[in-house]
């Protein structure tokens, strides 16, 4: 097991990339701690799978290095990296039995028969396939096949990392939850470094200690679920995490006060003077309706989602959502007030760190 | 490194395939004196006389026309009868369907030599001997089963919901088949047509047996003329090269479908 370092890493599928747009992955420097449980989150086509394949060695990066511990692995073939990876769609060896499938990675690594049997039985119990161990893999349902793929990923104990590429896409919801819990306990027991690619934020937030959000070939934030929620480093993180996402309003910012369409808004810290396209962002959870002073709010819709209600409306023609407790009266025209400590300031989509007080 | 090895293997294999063909082309561009008196790897005395002989003499070049006529006729007939049958096999169960399907395939397995004589008598008795249609029909013996087989494979890949949706939308069967279904399996039709063309074009035993003068295929003319005029190697080689050209053209047009086509829709 080892810490994985990406140094000045970038990747382009073009032979001679000219502009930034030619890069599937833009230059990045990141360290993935040994034993961490990471979720890699982002919309489709943002480079998640490319990044994963670079770590496992299936794709050679066009620029930069990949290090395992202190060893440069950039040019090492997949087999030498000793990594497990589970793909989005089931990959099973049709002509083998379930048992042979699960034993395959161990056999190839030259483990002894007794050990293989013990591990296979253990994993089979974990994925609930004990009874079908001697069946041929051909003819199993897609989700049974995917469980075998997952099992093959988890069967080796001494791998450097286990990578999951949206592994639960084809699994039915009940089993999804069950398997995720199993993965989590596997991580607790063995402390493998795990990287879990998904576009489902619930999956990411429940699985990982650290969530890595990617957008357009870039890692825009790497942080705990709480950090992503409270201080999104990029407007995309604000929009992508949370339901509904963060509200954004164009504003001008001077010191600890923002102005939206001439209406002043109190900020939680001093930002000096901010240039570029300036926006303020506030989570719907920290917005409340008020009769007193605030931004004018035009209500469009109220959604009841169980324990709370989502109130959708507009402020100066821009969408503004807020989460209100059950039972609170909603007037047609009102004003909204922000919990001022929770307002973030963005310049050209990137978060601006305040001066002094509440540094991120 | 594995890429190098692969490239080397492919190079050797393609060399093995192309050298005999090159030799034929080489000979077709030589004079007969050069062919028989000296041994040269390429023509020293480049000549197009051999081609000129063929392209100016109707008894030669009509052979190509004849071959093309019956090949195209056969392809059209095979595909048009195979389409509805393949649809039936891919969509419905009916009395005796499996036996029928196998029986069709057995005709693909019949040695043409077995049929040569009876065909000769059959087509003579109905007055079709030495016509293009006779050869086209005879080649249906092995092309129709193949076309049904290939098309059935492709049609099985089209979900049945498409048919049902079309009927719900008020399409009649012929209109649905021509407007909606056929475009969906266009590549399958192309593949089937390619195979019909191929097997009809290369077959000689039946086409030679069933023709005498008017519909004689080029391949048969080749054998006869050469044996009559002694050893005109140059013309023989030129005629051979000319028979390769239609095949090469067809391959070139379907090059993007070849890989898929050879799977016969079954992968």
């Amino acid at each position: 097991m080892a810490q994985i370092t990406l140094s000045k890493l970038a990747h382009s599928y073009h032979p001679t990339p000219k502009s930034e747009a030619d890069f599937a992955l833009k230059e990045m420097d990141h360290v993935w701690q040994d034993g961490g449980a990471y979720a890699l989150l982002g919309s489709s086509g943002c480079g998640k799978t490319t990044l994963l394949n670079i770590i496992s060695g299936l794709v050679r990066p066009s620029h930069g290095r990949v290090l395992f511990g202190e060893t440069d692995m950039t040019d090492a073939p997949t087999a030498e990296r000793n990594i497990a990876q589970v793909f989005q769609f089931p990959v099973v060896y049709d002509t083998m039995t379930v048992r042979e499938n699960l034993a395959f990675p161990l056999r190839n690594r030259g483990k002894d028969a007794e050990y293989i049997k013990r591990r296979v039985d253990h994993i089979a119990a974990m994925i609930g396939m004990e009874e079908r161990l001697n069946h041929k893999a051909r003819g199993l349902t897609a989700d049974a096949k995917q469980k075998i793929s997952l099992g093959r990923g988890m069967v080796s104990e001494d791998v450097n990392a286990i990578l999951f590429d949206e592994p639960l896409t084809v699994i039915d919801p009940h089993m999804k939850w069950e398997l995720r819990t199993q993965l989590k306990s596997l991580h607790r027991d063995f402390g493998h470094t795990m990287i879990y690619v998904t576009h489902d934020q619930t999956e990411a937030l429940t699985f990982a200690d650290k969530v890595v959000v990617m957008y357009d070939g870039r890692v825009v934030q790497m942080g705990t679920p709480q950090e992503l929620f409270e201080t999104p480093a990029h407007t995309f993180v604000g929009y992508f995490i949370g339901s509904p996402g963060m509200n954004l309003l164009d504003a001008t910012v001077q010191g600890s006060e923002a102005t939206v369409n001439g209406v002043p808004v109190q900020l939680g810290a001093n930002y000096g003077s901010v240039t570029g396209r300036v926006q303020i962002g506030i989570r719907p959870e920290f917005v409340s309706l008020t009769d007193e002073e605030g931004l004018p709010f035009r209500l469009t819709r109220v959604e009841d989602v169980g324990r709370h209600r989502i109130i959708r409306g507009e402020v100066f023609g821009k969408p503004m959502n807020l989460v209100a407790p059950e039972g609170q009266p909603v007037g047609a025209d009102a004003r909204v007030r922000f919990a001022w400590q929770m307002v973030n300031v963005y310049s050209d989509d990137w978060r601006v760190a305040p001066i002094g007080a509440r540094a991120a | 490194m594995p890429l190098r090895g692969s490239a080397f293997v492919m190079f050797l294999y393609l060399l093995f395939l192309l050298v005999p063909i090159y030799w034929l082309v080489n000979m077709s561009l030589k004079t007969n004196t050069e062919i028989t008196s000296v041994f040269t790897l390429w023509p020293q005395d480049l000549t197009f006389r051999n081609y000129a002989v063929i392209l100016t003499d109707p008894s030669w070049y009509m052979g190509y026309v004849n071959s093309l006529i019956y090949v195209v006729l056969n392809t059209v007939i095979s595909i048009s009868v195979a389409l509805p049958a393949a649809y039936a096999f891919s969509r419905y169960r009916f009395m005796g369907d499996k036996h029928l399907f196998f029986w069709l395939l057995t005709n693909r397995m019949a040695p043409p030599a077995v049929f040569a004589l009876p065909f000769f008598q059959l087509y003579s008795s109905v007055g079709l001997f030495d016509t293009h249609i006779a050869v086209a029909l005879a080649h249906c013996l092995f092309n129709v089963p193949l076309a049904v087989w290939i098309l059935e494979g492709f049609m099985r890949g089209v979900p049945k919901e498409i048919d049902e949706t079309a009927y719900v939308d008020g399409y009649s069967f012929p209109r649905f088949f021509l407007r909606i279904f056929l475009p969906l399996i266009a590549s399958g039709v192309g593949v089937a047509a390619f195979f019909c063309f191929m097997f009809s074009w290369v077959e000689l035993l039946l086409s030679r047996t069933l023709t005498a003068v008017n519909a004689k295929p080029i391949a048969a003319i080749m054998t006869r003329t050469v044996s009559a005029s002694g050893m005109d190697w140059g013309v023989l080689a030129a005629a051979g090269v000319l028979t390769i050209i239609p095949g090469a053209l067809v391959i070139y047009f379907v090059r993007n479908y070849i890989a898929k086509g050879f799977a016969l829709g079954r992968v």
Partner: protein, 290 residues
């Protein structure tokens, strides 16, 4: 797929049925008719019963031809199938080179059979052919018109030249259907090259390989034109395969009765073996469809 029971589907099959009946059933009846009768010319026929069948079954000449045929088919299958797989594994997967290989490989398949024969007839000649000339120059005593072994070698190499591409292209199509993720998973699992072949590539090629073997079996068992052009069945009878013998008998000697009986037995043998293949194949299909 769930198929609906519908006997009206027979109407869709009817054109095929009529066409094939016309070009297969009627001629086949003629053959059966001949096989049971004898003639002394003048279109007078006499009932001969199963006499011809007995003759054919006991004919040394036909036994010898059958023996040669089986040997020929076995040899070319043993060469073409492994070689075809090997070539398919080495073909470029995509891009310009892959199209080029496909086009060049398909070329021999579209050459009329007798032209294939002609190409090799010329190619192997010691006086004017590249192969024959080169061999002679190397000091090899090679002559396919007088030496039976040389004739066999020439016919086999010709068949390999002609048909290996068919096997290779079928296998290539099978290989193309394997998703990239399978190869990636194999790398992750640290599988050896042999394991990748054995557990990923071979199972995926199984279906097309059976088609390839079936086609090559049938076609090589009926081979006529190519060896006939090259060797004329000789030297002696050394390359006289079943079809060549049959045509000699039916059209050369006009022995209609024995030829017809021979035809039927010949056809039945091919049918029987093909039926075994077909059954295996459809069973495989069913197993995959689960």
């Amino acid at each position: 797929m769930d198929k609906t029971q519908n006997n009206k589907a027979w109407f869709l099959v009817l054109p095929v049925l009529l066409l094939v009946a016309f070009s297969a059933v009627i001629p086949l009846m003629t053959v059966v008719n001949y096989s049971l009768q004898d003639t002394f010319g003048n279109n007078e026929f006499f009932w001969a019963g199963l006499e011809w069948f007995e003759d054919v079954l006991h004919s040394d000449r036909i036994h010898a031809a059958l023996g040669r045929q089986i040997m020929f088919t076995a040899i070319i299958l043993a060469i073409e199938v492994p070689l075809g797989i090997f070539v398919a594994l080495n073909m470029p997967k995509k891009g310009f080179w892959s199209s080029l290989c496909l086009v060049l490989m398909a070329l021999p398949l579209l050459i009329p059979f007798n032209v294939v024969g002609t190409i090799w007839q010329i190619f192997g000649r010691v006086d004017i052919g590249l192969l024959g000339h080169t061999l002679a120059w190397l000091g090899v005593d090679y002559n396919y018109t007088s030496n039976a072994l040389d004739a066999w070698l020439t016919v086999i190499v010709m068949d390999v030249w002609h048909w290996t591409s068919l096997v290779a292209l079928l296998c290539y199509a099978g290989l193309q259907s394997i998703p990239e993720a399978y190869y990636q998973a194999a790398k992750i699992d640290q599988a050896s090259r042999w394991s990748v072949f054995r557990y990923i590539e071979l199972p995926k090629m199984q279906g097309v390989l059976l088609i390839a073997v079936l086609l090559r079996f049938m076609d090589s068992f009926m081979i006529y034109t190519e060896p006939f052009v090259v060797t004329g069945g000789g030297p002696g009878n050394s390359t006289t395969f079943l079809s060549i013998d049959l045509v000699k008998m039916a059209i050369g000697q006009f022995d209609l009765g024995p030829a017809a009986a021979f035809s039927l037995i010949y056809f039945l043998v091919i049918l029987l073996i093909s039926w075994v293949f077909y059954t295996v194949m459809t069973n495989l299909d069913k197993r995959d469809g689960v």
